[in-house]
Symmetry: C3
Subunit: 216 residues, 3 copies
Amino acid sequence: MTNAPLLSLLHTVVEGSATLAFALSGLLEAARKRLDAVGVCLVTGLAAFGGGTLRDVLLDRRPFFWVAHPGWLWLLLAVCAGAMLFLRARHFAPTERAMQWPDALGLGLFSASGTQLALAQDLPGIVAVLMGVITATFGGVLRDIVCNEIPTALRDHRPYAICAFAGGWVLVLAQQAGLPPGAGLVLGAATASGLRVLALVTGYQLPPWSSGDVAK
Amino acid sequence: MTNAPLLSLLHTVVEGSATLAFALSGLLEAARKRLDAVGVCLVTGLAAFGGGTLRDVLLDRRPFFWVAHPGWLWLLLAVCAGAMLFLRARHFAPTERAMQWPDALGLGLFSASGTQLALAQDLPGIVAVLMGVITATFGGVLRDIVCNEIPTALRDHRPYAICAFAGGWVLVLAQQAGLPPGAGLVLGAATASGLRVLALVTGYQLPPWSSGDVAK
Amino acid sequence: MTNAPLLSLLHTVVEGSATLAFALSGLLEAARKRLDAVGVCLVTGLAAFGGGTLRDVLLDRRPFFWVAHPGWLWLLLAVCAGAMLFLRARHFAPTERAMQWPDALGLGLFSASGTQLALAQDLPGIVAVLMGVITATFGGVLRDIVCNEIPTALRDHRPYAICAFAGGWVLVLAQQAGLPPGAGLVLGAATASGLRVLALVTGYQLPPWSSGDVAK
């Protein structure tokens, strides 16, 4: 393509913003739980890199993202230090609201790239889609497990993993239809991010368990 | 053997029933915690495949069971969807009681096959037995960690992991005594399942901590 | 060196004491939570071997320590059995106080050896240091996650992971300065253990979040 450098720059910007959005979700949760400096750094790092790292362990891929790009680890340490010095409770809610847009972009990008990596290993479609979902959601799941909460992604009835699931299938179908990989990646990411933005804008919720008789 | 197809069919039936029993334990726990659709599918999948997947990560084996047989992922999705539509709270206790028999079969089968896979890598007996125990129990352990509970397997004083441990040793000793692998597998699985059934029938409990002075 | 056998013996003694100190931290937590025999063995084993095993999974190294030295698994089983028979609540606090000294030695040794193993794979300095920190701390983190607590290492404001971090950097810098690997290992381990002992003796705490307005 003629605009490859521009696309590559755009990709870097989106990926960077999304990783930061994931990291900040960890940072805010660590602050709410009043973890110490070690806990803040570890939970922030888990939220940012946990999903991709778990995917790479399952796919037996090396090196991990943060091993190949250790500059990100320094950036995270700096963000954590800055947050511990300057972040106040009154910043929490606005920060979370501002972060949900880059987070939605990241959801699309990470689910599509996770699916793509699995397809490149000739894995079945459902497995590849699952790897995309793991990439996009397990950072948050691990963050919540370490903070001793039932993971938000499993109980808040707002579509998140489901957007990643839909986007992954678009990518799988695009590849089976013979589209070039780049097109499938863009379509899949756009589907996941678009559905997420739609859910945020409309406030849509997944249906609850049918009737009140589920409780023990 | 002359009845190999029959044996193979039997093996498939037992393994399938056991995987479903493990999956249903996750589904019921997710329903009790009122997780949403994503949580139900993820906890069900963890309970069904978590133990074998962790064993394969530790043994560095690929592909995982659910990667080699992706049809199981579709089946789990269907079971979860059906359960969310039709499962009512009054079905929970009967479902759990009905499931404990295939679960006991699965305990034997999974602990024996996990031990066998480790022995095939020439690992020491105690390590192989431990891999069998991990295969049989860590689906439940991961299910409970994600649901923010202390895992049942570690605190309910009913013999479960211990049956897997005993069955694993029977397999190891059978192999060291020179029995053919198939015979050891059957003996080990029968021991683990038999002990579990015995524990269920008699209501046997592991001895508690000696006296009340352990509490903090 | 002329005193290599003596050094090797010393290394074995320190490593063994540290592994036992880590194991006992798991055992005491399991006892406080009144887990059953299975839970005691599993939490003790996680505390002792969890950090090194997670590091080896991330670095894709095999065999694990407890696979190469299965005698340790037997020793742990014996320690757990002995503790369940003889450990009384009044022994808990003295045991923990006595254990903090071998634990500090282990902190230095495990963080330095984890860092060293990562450097041997030509990983960047920050990644190598992180592997050392994971080796030294994730046994305790996994122990606390299984016991359904927010991990102590992330919230108690006492320097632990930070000592491992500092020791790791000393090792990295020593290697970059061209010192022989053995010297860097000793310097790094001494730094981490020394800082930990200093923190224990002085009761130093990490600074808390700035002011009371962090709570939600």
